[in-house]
């Protein structure tokens, strides 16, 4: 009896205790998902900025956040700086050697002004070509798209502030993409669990195109919460509309997405979008599992940008996978690379444009290249006088796979990138080297990988190497719950 009373008292005390605020921590990355790179103003000398979405995947903190990192300021514990792409890290000042291992740049040189709050479960991060706007969708309740202003000020550094409010809490002004999914609502149109953003390139005539495309993973129910009439939507926003909303923020509040911004793309999650090169008349949308077996498969969908009508190439008839992730296309638009899972494969598809105007192209599967487990992000690295390299982050395997279209197979595999390499941002300044920034979702760091691309860079040999990791590993946070802990293991 005494023990029971004591237990009850203890329970009562526990129930009365208010939870302490757990704000984001600016000095480390935490379950980084999206990563975006902004080149420096001086392409010959600077390192640029990195924007990392911290997804707060276990909700250890009150919110997720985005960290702005000035790469020229990050430091290793012994004070070394990150080298320019293609260059070696300076040797340790004590005269020792890194023994070929990637150097850990644990000091990301951030301040409270380097972060803004967003919702947890962030997806991929996208930055515009001018390096002024950053888009990060989040899959937590609220289904928000956070937009950030990252315009470089006169004082340099790595600026970041919420686009509409100008503040640092972007959960306040984020765009809600699934309000129709609120209880009691009609349910559609809505885009629950937004995942990625694609910005339209300029029009074929060089004119600006301000369209913003958003994918989402969970289908919308109609009515809301009913799990019936499931449907996925393509969300098309306009930069101009966002500008207007920003100007009216003080009086009108947040930007409300009009129903006209949603167009149905059938049954099944959309993962990533690319805009067809050259004519730019279609969107190629990769997708994950279709909802019911009788549906047309959604590994790839083609959306007419004029009418939003959808065509289904039905890749599953020729490759019986269910789950496609990111995709890329050659600049000439004639070959598309699509990462598929189960089995982990890079699908290489030839794209044949229709002779008839406005008709979608035909896709022909020409290679299915086995990949390490967990393919997720895909980036394309063009090379002078060679077929492009396609780099795939393999999250389960912890590696990067480099597919060479000249070889028709994996030309290089970089293991040990980190735990769950997820998204890839590319710093590409010339023909010789590309630098990849890879978010290691599982260990809380960004891997820095240099890829020689030209004969001048590496005698024509493909020898990508991990240069460094940026940020502190997050394992000790999980073990100790100490936000400031330092994991000293290699």
């Amino acid at each position: 009896m005494r023990l029971t009373l004591a237990s009850l008292l203890f329970l009562a005390v526990a129930c009365n205790k208010d939870l302490l605020p757990r704000p984001p921590v600016e000095s480390r990355l935490y379950y980084p998902s999206g990563v975006a790179f902004v080149p420096p103003a001086d392409l010959d000398g600077g390192l640029g900025r990195l924007y990392v979405a911290n997804s707060d995947f276990d909700r250890r903190f009150d919110v997720g956040w985005v960290t702005a990192v000035d790469l020229s300021q990050v430091r290793s514990p012994d004070g070394r700086t990150l080298p320019l792409p293609g260059q070696a890290v300076a040797p340790p000042p004590d005269g020792g050697s890194d023994q070929g291992r990637p150097v850990q740049f644990t000091n990301i040189a951030t301040t409270p002004a380097s972060i803004v709050n967003i919702s947890p479960f962030a997806g991929l991060a996208t930055v515009d070509d001018a390096g002024t706007r950053l888009f990060v969708p989040s899959r937590a309740e609220g289904d928000e798209l956070a937009v950030m202003d990252i315009t470089l000020g006169v004082d340099g550094g790595a600026p970041i502030r919420c686009f509409f409010s100008g503040g640092s809490d972007c959960t306040v002004d984020a765009i809600q993409l699934a309000q129709a999914q609120d209880p009691g609502q009609i349910g559609v149109p809505a885009a629950p669990q937004p995942y990625s953003v694609t910005l339209a390139p300029p029009l074929p005539d060089g004119g600006p195109d301000d369209r913003i495309y958003v994918t989402h993973l969970r289908p919308a129910s109609s009515p809301a919460q009913s799990i019936t009439n499931l449907e996925n939507f393509l969300v098309t926003l306009r930069q101009g509309d966002l500008d207007q909303a920003r100007a009216a923020w003080a009086t009108d509040g947040g930007y409300i997405v009009p129903d006209s911004a949603f167009s149905s793309i059938g049954h099944g999650a959309s993962n990533s979008i690319i805009v067809a090169p050259i004519q730019r008349d279609f969107l190629y949308v990769s997708g994950r599992a279709k909802l019911i077996s009788s549906d047309l498969d959604v590994l790839l969908r083609v959306v007419d940008r004029q009418s939003n009508l959808v065509a289904y190439p039905q890749l599953q008839l020729v490759y019986a996978s269910l789950d496609a992730r990111a995709l890329q296309i050659r600049p000439d638009g004639r070959r598309l690379y699509l990462a598929a899972d189960d089995p982990a494969t890079l699908l290489v598809l030839d794209v044949t444009s229709s002779n008839l105007e406005d008709l979608p192209p035909v896709f022909t599967l020409v290679r299915a290249v086995p990949l390490p487990e967990g393919p997720n992000d895909v980036q394309l690295l063009t090379r002078p006088n060679r077929a492009p390299l396609v780099v795939v982050s393999c999250s389960v395997d912890g590696s990067l796979a480099f597919y060479d279209d000249d070889l028709g197979q994996i030309a290089a595999l970089v293991p040990g990138v980190g735990a769950v390499p997820f998204a890839i941002a590319v710093d590409r300044r010339g023909d010789d080297f590309a630098r990849l920034y890879v978010s290691n979702f599982g260990d809380g760091r960004i891997a820095v990988v240099d890829v020689p691309l030209s004969v001048d860079a590496a005698g024509g040999r493909l020898s990508p190497r991990i240069v460094a990791h940026v940020g502190m590993k997050q394992y000790c946070v999980l073990a100790t719950d100490d936000r400031n802990c330092v994991d000293t293991t290699p």
Binding site: D304, S307, L365, R367, A368, D397
Partner: protein
Amino acid sequence: MKTRLLSLLVVGLLACAQSGTAPPTRLSGTNSSAVSGSLLFVTSTRSNELRVLDLEPRSGLARDFVRAPNPLVPLSITTVPAPVEISTPTRYAPLGQALQGDWIFARGAGGPSVSVIGAMNCPQQLKEFGRITPRPDSVVTALTSRLTVDDLQAQLYFTTFDGTDSTLWEMILPNQPRDRSVTSLDPRHCNVYPGQMPLYVLQPLDVIREEVVTAMVALPTVVHPAEAPDPEERRLVIASRLLHPPASFTDPDAGTAMSEVGRIRVVTPQPTGLESSYEAVFNSNTTVAESYPVKRLLTHGNVVKLIAFGDAGTVNVDVDGGVTGGVTDVVMDAGTRIFGILDEASCNGRIDCVGVLAVDLDRTRALAARLLADGGVDLDAGTQLLRFPVAIDGFDDRRDLIDDGGVPVLVDGGNNGATLVPFQVADTWYRSPATFPDGGPRDANRMLPIRFANNGSVGIIQDITIQANGLALYFTGIQFQYGLLGFVSVTGVGNSIPVAQIFAFDAMTLRQINFAPNTVTVDQFKPILNNGATATFRGGPQNIQIAQGIWPNTDGVFVLYEGIVAGIAGEPLDAGLGDPNAGTWPLSINSRVLAEQGFIEPYDLVVPVDYTGTECAYAFPVLPLAADGGVLVARPGGLFLQTRTVALTDTLEGPMLPDGGGNVLVLSDGTIPSIVNCPPPVAYNLRSSSVTAHPLTVTGQVSGYLGRMALPPPNGLTNFDAGANTIPQFIRFWRPDADAGADATFLTSTGLAFTMQDKIQYFDENGQLVTDAGIEPVLTQGDQPSLRGSGYFFHFLNAYTPASVPISSASLGVAGISIPGALALYQRNIYPLPENLGQDRVFVLYPGGNVIVDFSPTTVSYAATTTSDFGVHF
């Protein structure tokens, strides 16, 4: 470690015999496999290791993974990172059986090294002995290996690519002779096998400039039954892709859409480098000297026909190929034929440049070179180069019957014996000649020897395996023997019937094997009403012809009055597009495609459909108002169909007027109904009409919309055909037996054909010749709402069922059986004999589920899904 044998008979044994709970294998990345003796080596790419399946467990036990020294876990053999291809040194016994050596070699994805692994089931052997890394800055792109005929030497060949050039390497390792009458190793002999890396020789053989080697095969030494072996074979076949093919060769005007160029060298390593023989050409165009790139090469053992003496009892064979109770006839020497899987990426996956092609290395032919040294293209093809040409597909599977004196037996070929022809018998062994009777090489069947599934739309080809003298169970229950029996795995299911991704093919005559039990037959014909009931219409399609090997499906065909055009039914009126009341009708993207392809004709009918799905009683002709005289009219928001707003009459008064007028329906009360008289539409159907050029629609139950045809003129007829020149297109994918030996030029390219006649004649039950209507007149009139979609129906059997192995996760009850990958063949006995039913096995890797499935060519049902005698291992 779980192994599930699905044979019901064996399940019981399994349950009794399995000792303890099988530990999980954690296979992850089953991308490549190789049989060596009685072991199957399988990659686990993600975990950088191989696992080993013991194919000959102790009596009463199921096949299981070899266990580690701690028997609670399966054995793991560490390899280079991410192993994706393995090879074992191989030679062929006199009767065609593949015999392996003591080693397994593995290369990794994007890696510079090759793992050398002991392959014998001995404690000191199943491990990685070492890694060979001759160029740390390069990537190993291909490997192959050979065993000398005396078993004493294993030869590994591999290529490295440094970003610009390829280097061919040779590694020579010692090998131990062993008893070849069995595939397993007697453990008492384990002591002769090394426990560490033996001395070896590694040397570069040559550099191939600006090419990537994509596949290789080491040709085997030929040993005839009961004879001394031929001189030791040294040749290699090396497939490469040019890094910088001549740009102009991609020009469609060059006569080919090849976008990448390959070279297939047949070389003999010499101290001074590679000595080249003629190159081989893998190209569906049999007249040109250029080859497509090839992604996989393999060859075969001796093709040996075992002919039993008439009075013989049991036929016995021995390890040297000696036979008691019969004689042997070597039809083709080991290594004569090279099979190559074309790299689908070399020509946009076009159907006539994908597939499995074969080249015979004992036949050369002068072929026309189109690529010039300066990078140009010679369209006139004046330069003749001697090449090993591609073998022409199965155009002769028949053989003359020879009498005792060696003279062909002749039979009556017509004209009451005035013409005698050789008496021929079916012979699946026969080696097809390289030329047609007139001596010229031909582009036979557009020259795709083996096109899988019914229509070829199956994705890409993953792997093939070939068994010399293989037996396969025919649908009659008899085991048929093939000179070379092949199996292939493909990534998609396409439209294959039954649904399958593994197909068997006759690699000797280079044809797929047909398991249809019937010939082409029209088995049903009837006039029908639109509700499916049988009608009493006179006439209907006549002279129905179906070409075997073109039509992909057994099918039913509707020939309909006011049929749905191109499947355009329930076309939605959403998003506020169009203005139905004004006769403006929106089109979905798919329907717009169909319209641009010409499926919609002027004066086809738009029939509004209300929210209950009911058609309006009135139909409205589509007007040809586009600038080009077509039916797609540009309006704000896109392209639309424009109809007139007043309905078509039920009884035609004549042709439509140029302005779309005429044949206007006037009701009995004098009113002229228009679109507004229909219930508010939410969609519309598009139907053909008797005032169009082609009023009758033709639609297959399986094959979908096939086209349309005109009404027969008075006392005349009209034709319908679907084939190589129609949309949809139906091209020949299989050569039926009846056409074997014929020039492809004379094969029909029409898959389905029939006529509609104004008048038909037939004999009635009294034997009187009757002349009657060839089409019921009411089916040639204006809009009769009650008859829309009525007409005629016939059903036919297409007489083609590709020999396939239809399995799935559902049929086997195991997850992850979605995309088959690598294949491996296990032949336990010296020669395939019917009494060894079920012993030879084909192992299929499924990397999606990390599952291995095995079946026997002699027990599997090739024409229907079955679950018996499958092994599942994971």
